[in-house]
């Protein structure tokens, strides 16, 4: 698993993946995005070379580009997707503790979070926090709704819905 973070600028993905392809690495699942002015990358890499070798190779370019990069041995392979069956949407005036309250409630219901995205939007002096969680739940939607209602979420809008995947 390769993780990278640093000041965003052009050419980061090209430079990193160039090194990897030169060393016959296979890239699989990845998530890359700009977060608060930083560029971030998380990527599963299949390689003959050791994590140590890749770290050395990548650090030689990362340093000159002002990036922090790290490769760890990680178990796992492609085709391990699990299908979410619930979606939780959250929106409200930004304050500390929203994520913690929501995810604690979900953890109490034994929901496995498979994807979480959030952002701060709205006016600069009136920031609004928005979050979207996909998870796998064995408990019914009503149970999650009840538990989230009990959580201390004043002025934050939370909705839970089933994710129904059409296969055709």
């Amino acid at each position: 698993m390769l993780t990278l973070v640093g000041q965003d600028h052009t050419g980061i993905v090209a430079a990193v993946t160039r090194v990897l392809s030169d060393h016959d690495c296979m890239l699989s699942e990845a998530s890359m995005m700009r977060l608060g002015g930083n560029f971030s990358m998380m990527m599963m890499v299949g390689a003959e070379a050791s994590a140590e070798t890749l770290n050395t190779l990548l650090n030689s370019i990362a340093h000159s580009m002002g990036l922090c990069v790290h490769v760890d041995e990680a178990a796992g392979k492609p085709h391990q997707h699990i299908q979410p069956n619930v979606e939780v949407r959250v929106m409200g005036a930004d304050r500390a503790g929203i994520v913690s309250s929501v995810t604690s409630a979900l953890a109490d219901c034994e929901v496995n979070i498979v994807d979480l995205e959030s952002d701060v939007i709205g006016k600069q002096d009136e920031p609004v926090y928005i979050m979207n969680i996909l998870g796998v739940s064995t408990a019914p939607i009503e149970t999650l709704q009840k538990r989230l209602e009990e959580a201390d979420l004043k002025a934050v809008d939370v909705s839970v819905s089933a994710v129904e995947t059409l296969i055709a």
Partner: protein
């Protein structure tokens, strides 16, 4: 009973445009049987399109009646289907027998008016909504050589879905 192999990506044939059915004969009935047998043999698919089994004519099968609380016209064999009207849109998660191990969000019309022919060539018209309308649009895309990953929208834009949804329900 003749379960056929399902074409999967990156098979180029999935991108070809299927031709209209012209003869509503016994051959068509056998092919529809194969199509349904193949759908039943797979993992819980609510629809299947002819080109997915290498039959490049405009025929699809859709059946969402197995789902609870879902408006449905039951088991449908639809020949030369054509959407006459669209109304409203909705984001929903889709997967495909021809695209294993991948699901994604796709925007589809929420309500459609559909015209098609049955296996004997009689014209049918339906007003469809929700899951059934989504399944039809997914299948007609197959007839036009389009796979749902071509239409997947980013999860990031999905963050704002609810706002859009609320605005549209206020109309």
């Amino acid at each position: 009973m003749a379960v056929q192999d399902i074409l999967t990506i990156p098979d180029e044939r999935l991108k070809q445009v299927s031709q209209p059915v012209e003869s509503f004969d016994e051959q068509l009935h056998w092919q529809l049987q194969d199509l349904e047998d193949t759908r039943q043999a797979g993992p819980a698919a609510v629809g299947i399109a002819a080109p997915q089994i290498g039959w490049f004519q405009r025929a699809v099968i859709v059946d969402v009646s197995g789902r609870k609380k879902t408006p449905s016209h039951g088991y449908l064999e639809l020949i030369n289907p054509e959407i006459l009207e669209w109304d409203d849109f909705k984001l929903g998660r889709e997967g495909c027998l021809s695209v294993p191990d991948f699901t994604g969000n796709v925007i589809r019309a929420k309500n459609i008016k559909l015209r098609a022919f049955d296996r004997h060539g009689s014209m049918l018209e339906f007003d469809m909504t929700g899951f059934e309308a989504r399944a039809i649009q997914h299948e007609i895309d197959h007839l036009d050589g389009i796979l749902f990953p071509d239409r997947v929208v980013s999860r990031r834009s999905d963050l704002f879905q609810r706002k859009v949804y609320q605005a549209s329900t206020k109309k």
